[in-house]
């Protein structure tokens, strides 16, 4: 099976502070990854690099066998989608127009969205349960509704790799569950993979089969979740005692209060 995304000795730093040193990561199609680590460990910066939003850092990122730095921006956006950590309401465009912008990388410069694009946008809106908000301005949406619009836009982009930076931000428990389930079915397939930054270890364990943990000092661990979900290693990564309990639905992680 060919690697969908691969990094070789990728070193990411911010302000001279190393966030991850010589990262070697291989993401295969069909895999679902969680990116874990304490605040400021560099999770967001790392996925911005992996998604090609920043200038190349030392090391190489390969996407579908090609050097990411050599892929033109529009082509890159056909392959890689990213849900950013912070939402933006723009100038108050409406929901359907915003979701339609997910089709942008697939359209030639002067083209208008075809009916097939509209079809895709509508179905993504439906998937996220936003039909009734379709013509509402983003200015009038709640934080959670806006988050779902952004997830719908990402789905409309139909990329092979999806990066999700705290996808459950602003979502209530029910929507956290349904949205993550949707992302799992739509962004992970024999040709697709996803990597999400998430703070809830329980969600990370239930949704993602692989974990990448940034320890905050430049060191990192990656692998199957079963091998990494060790309370000792997690406590070290977060700098806080974390215990693991067994339940019928699998392990439950609790931070000591």
């Amino acid at each position: 099976m060919s690697r969908l995304l691969e990094t070789r000795r990728l070193s990411v730093s911010i302000g001279g502070q190393p966030l991850c040193k010589e990262l070697d990561l291989q993401i295969m199609p069909g895999q679902s990854w969680a990116l874990l680590g304490r605040n400021g460990a560099g999770k967001t910066t790392l996925i911005h690099h992996l998604a090609g939003l920043h200038r190349p850092a030392p090391g190489t990122v390969f996407v579908d066998g090609r050097d990411l730095a050599q892929i033109a921006p529009r082509r890159r956006a056909q392959l890689i989608g990213i849900l950013l950590q912070h939402s933006s309401r723009g100038f108050g465009a409406n929901v359907i127009d915003t979701v339609l912008t997910g089709r942008h990388p697939h359209l030639p410069t002067l083209a208008w969205e075809a009916s097939s694009d509209l079809e895709i946008a509508r179905s993504c809106i439906q998937t996220l349960g936003l039909e009734e908000l379709s013509s509402r301005s983003l200015d009038t949406l709640s934080g959670g509704e806006l988050r779902r619009v952004e997830i719908a836009r990402l789905l409309a982009q139909q990329t092979r790799i999806s990066f999700l930076d705290e996808p459950t931000n602003h979502l209530d428990l029910a929507h956290q569950a349904t949205c993550l389930r949707t992302l799992q079915t739509r962004c992970v397939s024999p040709k697709k993979a996803m990597l999400m930054v998430v703070h809830d270890l329980n969600l990370a364990y239930r949704i993602c089969d692989h974990w990448l943990i940034l320890n905050g000092d430049g060191s990192w661990q990656s692998g199957r979740r079963e091998d990494l979900a060790d309370p000792g290693a997690l406590s070290k990564a977060y700098g806080h005692p974390i215990s693991r309990l067994a339940s019928d639905d699998g392990p439950v992680f609790l931070a000591q209060l």
Binding site: P73, L84, H104, T109
Partner: protein, 326 residues
Amino acid sequence: MPSQRHQLLLILVLLLAIASLTAALLVGSARIPPDEVWAHLLGNDGSINDRIIDQLRLPRALTAFAVGGLLALAGALIQVLLRNPLGDPYILGVSGGASAAVLSCMLLALPGFWYTPAAAVGALFSTLLVFGLTRSADDWHADRLLLTGIVVAAGWSALISFVLSISPSGQLPGMLFWLMGDLSDANRPVLPLSLLGIGLTLAYLRARDLNIATQGLLQAAALGIDTRRLRLELYFLSALLTAGAVTSAGAIGFIGLITPHLIRRLGASDHRILLPAATLSGGSLLVLADSAARTLISPMQLPVGVLTAMIGVPVFLFLLHGRRQA
């Protein structure tokens, strides 16, 4: 394809443009009947009225249209660049640089043909100054750009006040007219009209990118836009358009701020509609304001900037208030 509502909006602003230009040809201190206006426009009988139409009203109306269009288009672009729907084409100091240069020419009592090149040089200098100060090693924050522009504009403003305060009183009215924006000498529409055509074409090629850029530059990059290039294009294109407008008619206020806003209010936030609609209605608004400026207390002429501000201030406050309520 544009929705029916958007098509209707484009047709309406096109009709408004035609109506405003027609009105500008019809009104003035000399009363010329409509059928005669049409005949003078097409033919040439060498009469006084013929010259009034062909050499005064038509070039002035076309210049006003071009300047209004340039300002509205520049405003729409600046608002995306600064990611602030209240951005104004003058906020980056372009008009300040032009005004300071022209007023210095007036102070030195240079002949009038110096004003246009001086305004162009002043605008260009200010554009490059703000750009140079803002272009840091890595990123180009909207806030940093805005702050630099405002500070540089304040610098120009101080220089302008200085020139005003040391100028002989005989030169003050001319200077004030220029500062407020004035179309009474504006009779060369070819340059601003061509600039408008080129600017609108270039901006239109980026229209869909602009829609996305309003959602933030990171999001634009995520959707495959080369944001570094887009920002450069937006900055220099909007500066060029503003410089073209200021060079032709001085610093006419409010058209650039309000027109894109009005079009958004009318339901067109898609730049593929917004850009042409704002350009056409910005042009129309300035033609109407200028027609009023030269007829309201005729034979005296008001600087058109006074009228655009008088209309602009309440409209702006209304928009701001309505925004808060929404």
